[in-house]
C-alpha cells in the first residue's frame, strides 16, 4: 500500500485471473474424483470448517435441550411406561440369551465361523448438504472416535448408508440413495439375492437386472445378505414398492423405498467394521463352501 495508491494497482487482467482460477478448480476436481490425491488437504480444510459447523448446529441442539427440559415434567409417567417396557424386554432378552447360547453351541457343532458381535458408535447428523445431487450427510464424529471409511450406518429401522470419508472430528455418510451406492440384499420371503442400487433421487432405490419372471412381489422386504463382508447380514434395507414387468424387456423394473428415514432422526448408529473372513484352514471346506455361495449369488443377481 505504501508503494502506490491502491487505485492504480490492478494486477493481472480479469480474464487472465478467470482462466487461472478455472484451470485450478478443474485441476482440483480431476485430482479429487479421478486420482483421490487430496484427502490430507480436505482434512486440513475440514478442521477450519468444523467449529463453524458446530456453531451452525447450536440452535438445533439448544432447541433439543429446551424441549427436553420441558418434557421432563412428564418424566414420572414416562418412567413408569419405560419400567414396564423394560420388564417385557428383559423377558425377551432372557429368551434371546438362551437362544444365543444355543446358537453358539450349534455353530460350534457345525464348526462354522461365529457371527461377529458388532459394536456401535452413536453419532449425530451435523449437516445435510444443500444440493439436491449430493446424497450425503455429515456426522459429528470422526476418526478420533474410531470411525473408519467403510463402516455401516443404521438408524432404528434399517440401513442408512456407509461412511465414505473421515476427518478427525467429522465423517461423511454416503446414503443408500446415492447413485453410485449399492448394497447386496436378500428378499426375506424367499431368500432371493440381488443388489439394490441408489438412483440419486430422494426415497427411491432400484433392483437392477431382475428377470421379468423372477419371484418378487410388491411389499417384499429386502434385508442385507451379508455376502459382501461389509454389511452385517439381516439389516432391513428397503421395501419393494413398484414392479413393472414388460415382457418386451429382458429385465423387470423394480423400485423400492428405503426402510430407514434419514430425515426423521438426528441420531444414527455407526456399526463397527466387519473383519474380513479369513481363509479357512482345511482346504476341503473352502472348496465346498465357495462355489455354492457363488452359485446362489448368480441366481440372485439374475
Amino acid at each position: 500500500m505504501e508503494m502506490a495508491p491502491q487505485f492504480f494497482r490492478h494486477g493481472p487482467s480479469l480474464l487472465a485471473r478467470l482462466v487461472f482460477f478455472v484451470m485450478l478448480s478443474l485441476l482440483l476436481m480431476a485430482a479429487d474424483t479421478r486420482f483421490k490425491y487430496l484427502p490430507e488437504i480436505r482434512q486440513a480444510f475440514s478442521i477450519i470448517i468444523y467449529p463453524l459447523q458446530k456453531l451452525a448446529n447450536t440452535p438445533s441442539t439448544a432447541y433439543d435441550a429446551i424441549s427436553e427440559f420441558f418434557a421432563s415434567r412428564h418424566l414420572t409417567v414416562e418412567n413408569e411406561e419405560l419400567k414396564q417396557q423394560h420388564l417385557i424386554v428383559q423377558g425377551q432378552l432372557q429368551q434371546l440369551q438362551a437362544l444365543e447360547a444355543e446358537n453358539v453351541q450349534l455353530r460350534k457343532l457345525l464348526e462354522t465361523s461365529q457371527r461377529l458381535e458388532s459394536k456401535a458408535v452413536m453419532a449425530e447428523i451435523l449437516h445435510v448438504p444443500r444440493d439436491p445431487f449430493n446424497r450425503k450427510v455429515i456426522l459429528d464424529k470422526g476418526s478420533q472416535s474410531g470411525i473408519q471409511p467403510g463402516q455401516v450406518v443404521v438408524d432404528d429401522v434399517g440401513v442408512v448408508g456407509q461412511i465414505t470419508r473421515t476427518s478427525p472430528w467429522l465423517s461423511e455418510v454416503t446414503l443408500l440413495t446415492d447413485k453410485d451406492h449399492s448394497v447386496p440384499v436378500q428378499v426375506v420371503r424367499n431368500g432371493l439375492r440381488s443388489v439394490v442400487s441408489g438412483t440419486g433421487k430422494d426415497g427411491t432405490l432400484e433392483l437392477r437386472y431382475v428377470a421379468v419372471n423372477t419371484d418378487i412381489e410388491e411389499g417384499d422386504m429386502l434385508v442385507t445378505s451379508g455376502i459382501d463382508g461389509v454389511y452385517p447380514p439381516g439389516l432391513p434395507v428397503a421395501v419393494v414398492s413398484k414392479i413393472e414387468r414388460n415382457p418386451t424387456y429382458v429385465f423387470a423394473q423394480v423400485t423400492c423405498t428405503p426402510a430407514a428415514g434419514v430425515g426423521h432422526y438426528r441420531q444414527l448408529l455407526v456399526l463397527s467394521l466387519l473383519i474380513p473372513v479369513t481363509e479357512t484352514k482345511n482346504p476341503e471346506e473352502a472348496t465346498e463352501s465357495k462355489p455354492e455361495g457363488k452359485k446362489r449369488d448368480k441366481i440372485g443377481i439374475r
Binding site: F21, L28, M29, D32, L52, A56, R130, I138, R165
Partner: protein, 173 residues
C-alpha cells in the same frame, strides 16, 4: 435517465477488512445451517450473495481469489467434489467484476433482477459440473434458491451497507 438519481447516493464510510471477513464467515455459517426439506430448497446461497455484494462494492479488495477460497471451504462443508463450488463462485465473481461499474450505479432494488441472472449463471455452472459427474437432472425447484436470492438481495445489501452508513452526528457542530 437512469443516472438522474445518482447524486442522491450517500457517500459511505470506508469498509473495514475485518467486517468483510466477518460477513463472509457469517455467510458460511448460514450456509452450513442444518436445514431440511422445503427450508433447504428455499434457502439462498448466502456465500454467493455476500461475494456478489463485495465484488460490486469493493472490487479492489474482494475478487476472484476470495470467491475461489470460499468455494473451497464450501466444498468441504458440503461434501462435494473439491473445486466444484470454487469453479462456480469464481466464474460468478468474474461476471460481477466485469459489470461492477454498471451495477454500482443502480439502487439495490434495480440490482436485484440482475443479481438473479448472475446467481442463475452460478447455479447453471454448478449443475453442469454435477451433470459431468454423472448425476441426474434435478427438478425445476433446484433454481428456486436463486429466485429467493433475488428477492432477498435488497434486504441483504442494505444489511451489509449498514456499518458503512455515515454517522448521523457527523454534520453536527
Amino acid at each position: 435517465m437512469a443516472f438522474a438519481d445518482y447524486p442522491k447516493q450517500e457517500i459511505l464510510r470506508p469498509v473495514k477488512g475485518s467486517f468483510i471477513f466477518l460477513s463472509l464467515m457469517a455467510a458460511l455459517l448460514l450456509n452450513l445451517l442444518p436445514l431440511k426439506g422445503t427450508a433447504l430448497t428455499l434457502c439462498p446461497d448466502f456465500i454467493a450473495l455476500t461475494i456478489l455484494y463485495w465484488c460490486i462494492n469493493q472490487p479492489q479488495r474482494v475478487g476472484m481469489s476470495t470467491a475461489f477460497s470460499m468455494g473451497l471451504l464450501m466444498d468441504i462443508g458440503n461434501a462435494s467434489t473439491f473445486g466444484q463450488h470454487a469453479l462456480s463462485y469464481s466464474i460468478m465473481a468474474f461476471v460481477a467484476l466485469l459489470f461492477h461499474r454498471r451495477l454500482h450505479n443502480f439502487g439495490s432494488l434495480k440490482q436485484a433482477p440482475q443479481m438473479g441472472l448472475i446467481l442463475l449463471t452460478e447455479q447453471s455452472i454448478m449443475l453442469l459440473t454435477w451433470l459431468l459427474d454423472g448425476s441426474n437432472v434435478p427438478g425445476w425447484n433446484f433454481f428456486i434458491a436463486s429466485a429467493t436470492g433475488t428477492v432477498l438481495w435488497p434486504l441483504f445489501s442494505s444489511l451489509l451497507r449498514m456499518p458503512q452508513r455515515p454517522r448521523s452526528d457527523s454534520n453536527a457542530l
